[in-house]
Amino acid sequence: MRLTVDHVTRYHYDAPVRGVVQSHRLTPSRFDGQKLISWEVTVTGGEKGGAFRDGAGDWVQAWTVKGPVTEIEVRVKGEVETADLAGILRGHRETVPPEAWCRETPATEADEALRALAESARHDEPLSFAHALAFAVAGAIEYTPGATHEHTTAAEALAAGAGVCQDHAHALIACARTVGFPARYVSGYLFAGEGETPHEAAHAWAELWVPGFGWIGFDPANRCCPDERYIRLGAGLDAREAAPIRGIARGAATDSESLEVAVSVAQPVAVQSQAQ
């Protein structure tokens, strides 16, 4: 499936800042399920810094913007050809071994409830177990926009029984790690076709390392594995680590930063009708 992406993030600072430094994981991963047709990231007034492929196989591009500045815009425009690999991350090259994805982070720390949820899904066969975990998480946390916030942990989301894709992914990761699956957070885009529940186009899900298969994506929010509607950007231990844009403004007063995000993922022939 051909998908176009138009993703704009606008940062506004109440008072001019001395400079901005950003680290982007905004380029689609290289694996058998997706092929880049065109891809461009621009930052207003920005200068490209270093770029490299990291140990998880993600392409990282640094940017800096010289101050004083009160507003910057990060724009991603591109087109990708995707294929449905039933969630399997085939042909993805990475240095970091699965064992390194077992570490807990504050957002993915498992409490008793998460551990119990994981146990309730237990199957002998690893692949079935992984599917059951994703299913269990989907059932325990209802998709409810606004119920949680950026810093909600997996345990908190489960206790609330409500959350968004980030909470689903965190909860699945936490459960998976407690029962021995290496697991990680994946950020990317999702094309919501007609007649389906329209979730945010900027999306996130989890990947579990399943013996015999390697990394497999699971999206509890949509009760499925990533298919040709998904564009994968990068991975991390949790949402903060996998964030497509990490940035710091020098000399910014706390809480003086505001953020606007607009994302549209569409099929090229239907750009006009799908956008917005």
């Binding site: 430094v21 680290s23 970091v96 064992e99 903060r240």
Partner: protein
């Protein structure tokens, strides 16, 4: 009753390296000694030396006691130590490049994957990166103890930012100033080229993008840090700037420092802050000490960081037991320096042995340092041992145990005169284009009678360390 190896006296006779020191002390009346001791202290205080060994914490304005009685090695003793230390430093670096690359040593089954990849010090952010010249740990501090004429053991490795080298240099300076006659009578290898060798080592690992004389800086957490004196001392002797995080910023693909003449590009950062604080964009977002965006510049080859982030995975106490294996695996050599036999409480058989022999063992936390969180069996009360037993049982993986080593003693000035006290040794091996070791190191001495704990926070002092020329 354990007998301890006395580095000066072999029975009644004086061992060769100490021959001239016997006359020196015999000719020094008590009042002159006290006078000299007071002079040394006044000098240290005036210079403003304050000191803390890595990870020991404590009052930043505290003076560490200085003992005037030097510790002496013959040239051939040192020769063996030097070969062993360099060998170990090479193996540790080979290990680091390997585990952040294909991890052949894990694939070969020589080290458990879990120990490496689930180690807190394993840094995913540097995986797949080979630093300039393939060096992760540029300053390797190796703690060594001696138990006999030819018996040396490595107690632990310090691959991150071992401190204390300023004391090696200042102790020597102090001795030369107070007792110039000793340096005329004994032929002692100088250590004062250390700062120059360090500067050269750091410059030799400048990134490929640096096309001129590299600009080296030392990155300090700031003047409230207990080792600040050492940071500024080294910066001064190397002739490089001592910077704090806020003095640096990232622009384009490089790191710059703020100067009165505008931004100046920085090529090599000798950092004395922990990994977690280096870059709030990459690690702890609440760090005020680091430089946002630094890691991206590092990974894209715009700047070198010494020691490299992630180097700590090689000096973990659980990894320590595998260092001899690293020497064999990467270098195809037999280790010249021995490890202290170590039981890993995480292993069932070892745990059983440890719990059955707690009274004879030293038990340490895997991630602890500074002589805290450890049990010295023979020096502990029954109650202390029982309390520790429970702690080990609760979390066996967090503990290792070693036999109580019969640490050697050297003569030390104490209130009653001269008496033997236990010592250890930390030499500083520099790894860049070349591997170099200045002949000497930091000798720490347990000033309390009978004590085996040399940490300055636990009543330890320091001594000048001599290596005699041939």
């Amino acid at each position: 009753m354990t007998t301890y190896f006395n580095e000066m006296y072999d029975g009644a006779s004086v061992r060769a390296p100490y021959a001239r020191l016997g006359d020196w002390t015999a000719a020094m009346p008590a009042d002159r000694r006290l006078e000299k001791q007071a002079e040394a202290e006044a000098l240290f205080r005036r210079i403003g030396i304050t000191f803390a060994v890595y990870g020991e914490g404590g009052d930043p304005d505290r003076l560490i006691p200085f003992d005037m009685f030097p510790r002496v090695f013959t040239n051939s003793e040192w020769g063996k130590l030097e070969r062993g230390i360099k060998q170990r430093a090479r193996a540790l670096n080979a290990f680091l490049v390997d585990v952040y690359g294909r991890a052949e040593i894990v694939r070969a089954g020589r080290i458990p994957a879990k120990l490496v990849f689930q180690n807190e010090a394993y840094e995913r952010a540097v995986a797949g990166f080979i630093p300039p010249k393939g060096v992760y740990s540029h300053i390797v501090g190796i703690d060594i103890v001696r138990t006999g004429p030819t018996d040396f053991f490595v107690l632990e490795d310090n691959c991150r930012t071992p401190s204390g080298v300023s004391y090696m240099l200042e102790s020597r300076e102090m001795m030369m100033r107070m007792f110039p006659e000793l340096f005329r009578e004994n032929r002692i290898e100088p250590v004062d080229r250390y700062p120059e060798v360090l500067r050269r080592t750091l410059a030799s690992v400048a990134p490929a993008k640096c096309d001129r004389e590299p600009t080296v800086v030392i990155l300090t957490p700031g003047h409230f840090n207990s080792a600040y004196y050492e940071h500024s001392f080294l910066a001064d002797l190397m002739g490089v700037e001592l910077v704090e995080g806020a003095d640096l910023f990232v622009d384009g693909g490089f790191v710059w420092m703020r100067t009165t003449e505008g931004p100046k590009r920085v090529d090599v950062i000798y950092r004395r802050i922990d990994d977690a604080f280096i870059d709030p964009l990459c690690f702890r977002p609440d760090s005020m000490l680091g430089v946002p965006g630094l890691m991206d510049v590092y990974r894209s080859g715009g700047v070198s960081i010494c020691s490299a982030p992630g180097a700590g995975v090689a000096d973990d106490k659980a990894i320590y037991t595998y260092v001899p294996e690293m020497v064999r695996f990467y270098l195809g050599e037999e280790p010249i320096l021995q490890n202290v036999p170590t039981w890993k409480c995480g292993a069932a058989d070892d745990l059983k042995h440890v719990l059955a022999n707690l009274g004879d063992l030293v038990v340490k936390e895997v991630h602890g340092s500074g002589g805290y969180g450890m049990l010295v069996g023979p020096k502990s009360t029954k109650a202390e041992i029982e309390e520790f037993r429970e702690r080990i049982k609760a979390d066996p993986e967090n503990y290792i145990a070693q036999p109580t080593l019969a640490l050697s003693t050297t003569p030390t000035f104490v209130e009653e005169g001269i008496a033997p006290r236990h010592v250890d040794l930390r030499p500083y091996c520099l790894v860049g284009e070349r591997i170099e070791l200045v002949p000497g190191g930091l000798t720490r001495v347990a000033l309390r009678e009978g004590s085996l704990v040399v940490n300055s926070s636990q009543g330890g002092g320091v001594k000048d360390t001599w290596v005699l020329a041939e």
